[in-house]
Symmetry: C2
């Protein structure tokens, strides 16, 4: 019996893969990964040039991305069928071989692999390798500590209602806002209302060669991709020791 090895690949720079993930990727005979229709796929791009020449690839292509509202029953039905079919296919494959599933970031942190995990748990041996989360790559690209001392950090999705985004932006020291793409206007309004827009950064494709880091207030929202993350840095609650001694 084979296993499923889900490799967190980190934020984008292949050198930020863990030693363990790197080893699995290099030795893989069968790799599966999610991608949007007609796209190479974020995870697949990270391992470019690292896979064995004779590797078997299984691109798991989403049946739908933004054509349907994500809270419609039709969207739910299509995605559910998609995850179900791929879970069955991977389960069949593991009767003979190991499958390495490639995942950007960390698999347990808002990762799509969890839809397969929930359907395969208990039926197939699954190993999950932690990765540097995408947000960690993004705050590394800014080059400032995201949180210090007693800071409270909140991770939010840009898909949340505007009033919730505003309230949480007011009540947190540090903020990470994911899934910003088509929600960027709303995210910007919420941060502005909370008095946090001036502190906010927008990071696209953090740690990759296409990385862009900018103050959110200077960004043209028309050109903001889905993969961008908005960060507001904490200032370090109870961090008096950061000051130099007067003596």
């Amino acid at each position: 019996m084979g296993r499923i090895i889900c490799c967190g690949l980190g934020p984008g720079d292949p050198n930020l893969m863990t030693v363990r993930a790197y080893r699995e990727v290099r030795g893989a005979k069968h790799v599966a990964y999610f991608r949007k229709r007609g796209r190479p796929g974020q995870a697949r791009r990270i391992v470019d040039g690292l896979l064995a020449e004779d590797v078997c690839e299984y691109p798991m292509e989403y049946p739908v991305t933004t054509e349907l509202p994500f809270d419609s029953p039709e969207y739910a039905r299509l995605l559910s069928t998609f995850y179900h079919e791929w879970a069955e296919r991977l389960a069949r494959l593991t009767r003979a071989v190991d499958i390495v599933v490639l995942c950007e970031g960390d698999p347990y942190f808002y990762g799509s692999f969890m839809h397969l995990h929930a359907r395969l748990e208990g039926r197939v041996e699954i190993e999950v390798i932690a990765g540097v989360p995408g947000m960690t790559g993004c705050w590394n690209s800014v080059g400032l500590p995201i949180a210090l001392g007693d800071d409270v950090m909140t991770v939010l999705m840009g898909t949340l209602p505007e009033d919730e985004l505003e309230r949480r932006a007011r009540n947190s020291d540090a903020l990470v806002i994911m899934k910003t793409g088509r929600n960027l206007k709303k995210v910007r309004r919420a941060l502005c209302a909370a008095g946090r827009l001036d502190e906010a950064w927008l990071i696209e494709r953090g740690t990759t060669s296409g990385e862009r880091v900018a103050r959110l207030k200077h960004m043209d929202e028309a050109e903001c991709p889905y993969f961008a993350i908005v960060l507001v840095h904490g200032q370090g609650r109870r961090m008096e020791v950061i000051e130099c001694p007067s003596a």
Copy 2:
């Protein structure tokens, strides 16, 4: 002129170091790291057996840990002097050589290195290598997704006031509570009051050979070390697609 290369080493398992950090650690001629007095040091322990034989080591030993209340002026003064002196020493050393500073987890995420970073920025070339944060290692050890869909995740320090811990535990889907050690009784009371104690996990030394994962409600608080993290997993807001299709 030399540089300072601050390596995030990940949560504890050396195989969860990034490829880039691993390379720097293996090639280092001079390494510095924080540790408590008389202890080997968390970061130093991760690279055991990986350093060159003739490496120069600079253990940066905290002058104080829990002997003084951390909000006392004396504590602040002692730590401030300590960071100042080490920043000056590292600045002098980089006139001749590169210094690799070893940091557990990710340096920009509540990392002590930031006290040096703030004092050295603009004077010395500093490179920071992202690492898998300690919390990511911990939720990997539990083997469940920490957050999914539209979950809101909050990172809190156990040092916060009890009423704030309780309020935030009520208002978040997923919770990460760090610096639990001597605050564990308070953290437990706050989670209980918020109705979240039954869902909480306590993870000690996640991803290391000494790892322990337990339900918080079953834990004996007398034996809880400073390095433990409490997790409450999100359930996945708006995640209808996780269900299998009825068709």
